[in-house]
Amino acid sequence: MPTRQRLKVLLISELMLDMKEDEIGDDTPLFGPAGIGLDSVDALQVVVMIEKNFGFKMADQEQAKRVLHSVNTIAEALEKQAA
């Protein structure tokens, strides 16, 4: 499964989101009212989810803030790690 799709599947299942994969755009902001509306508790979970499923560990909060912006930014960070 492509990384972006896998991320969406994981986000929906791990965060118990009542939505379908195609409702999450690759560039849709994950946090805040303009996007999906995740909160800081979700952020903590996403960090653990990424580490558990992709072996990607956030270096610090600044990096987490950048990486967790959207599905695309997460995927790019994962691809950069794999390269």
């Binding site: 965060l15 118990m16 508790v41 903590l44 979970q45 653990v48 558990k52």
Partner: protein
């Protein structure tokens, strides 16, 4: 699936009763008895359940000690499913006479230690997407008796921590609850005279103290699958005193 249970203050009457309750009622669990210097009674219990219970040295006020203890538990192969923050003590004095050290010691052992314990286990439970944290508060958190400003504040803090953390952890399959026991047999100050105890019982609606197993049963329930939708709750177990 089998799980490990970590109980702090496991050499005391309530800690022992909780440990024994789990060992008796949950056949495949492993119980880690968190102790410090005093460990004679915990050793006795561990000897009775040698294949499933063992002592673990844990200075609850030290984050490093928590890390070490959890690494030791992880090394045994059964994931930690339940943390019971039971250890604590009181050092009573009227506030006018209370030293800053008395205040700090009680806050450290009864509140800060709960913070360290919860923080230490949280990431592992998040990874497993399940976990149960049960914090033993006290009736003093609610009744706030004179002479216990430090203890009452610490135990009320435990309730606040429990409620707040329960909201942070709910979506991760982790429940966090508090229990407020009243007077427990075997858990009362050794210097209380028989007359004092008799007079105290007369004030209790049930005219008796709780048996440690009666509190342990509630803790066990909160750690069970049946309690999966209970989180952020404070359960008072006081025989109707308050």
């Amino acid at each position: 699936m089998s799980r490990s249970i970590l109980i702090t203050g496991a050499n005391g009457a309530l800690g022992l009763a909780i440990a024994e309750y789990f060992l008796t009622k949950e056949a495949d669990c492993r119980v880690f008895l968190g102790v410090r210097e005093r460990r004679d009674r915990a050793e006795e219990l561990a000897a009775r359940f040698a294949d499933r219970a063992e002592l673990i040295t844990l200075e609850i006020t030290s984050p490093e000690a928590w890390k070490t203890a959890l690494a030791e538990i992880a090394g045994k192969g059964t994931p930690l499913g339940v943390l019971i923050n039971n250890a604590g003590f009181h050092e009573d004095a009227l506030l006018a006479n209370m030293s800053a050290d008395q205040w700090s010691r009680v806050l450290d052992a009864n509140l800060n230690a709960v913070f360290h314990g919860c923080q230490a286990v949280l990431q592992g439970m998040m990874r497993e997407r399940q976990g149960r944290i049960i914090n033993i508060s006290s009736l003093s958190a609610i009744s706030s008796p004179a002479g216990q400003t430090n203890y009452a504040a610490a135990k009320a803090g435990v309730i606040g921590l429990t409620q707040s953390l329960s909201k942070e952890a709910a979506r991760m399959g982790i429940t966090v609850n508090a229990v407020c026991p009243g007077y427990i047999e075997g858990g009362l100050p050794a210097d209380w005279t028989p007359e004092h105890l008799k007079a105290l019982k007369m004030q209790l609606p049930m005219r008796r103290f709780a048996k440690p197993a009666e509190v342990a049963a509630a803790v066990f329930f909160l750690a069970s699958a049946e309690a999966s939708y209970i989180t952020g709750s404070t359960l008072k177990i006081d025989g109707g005193l308050l």
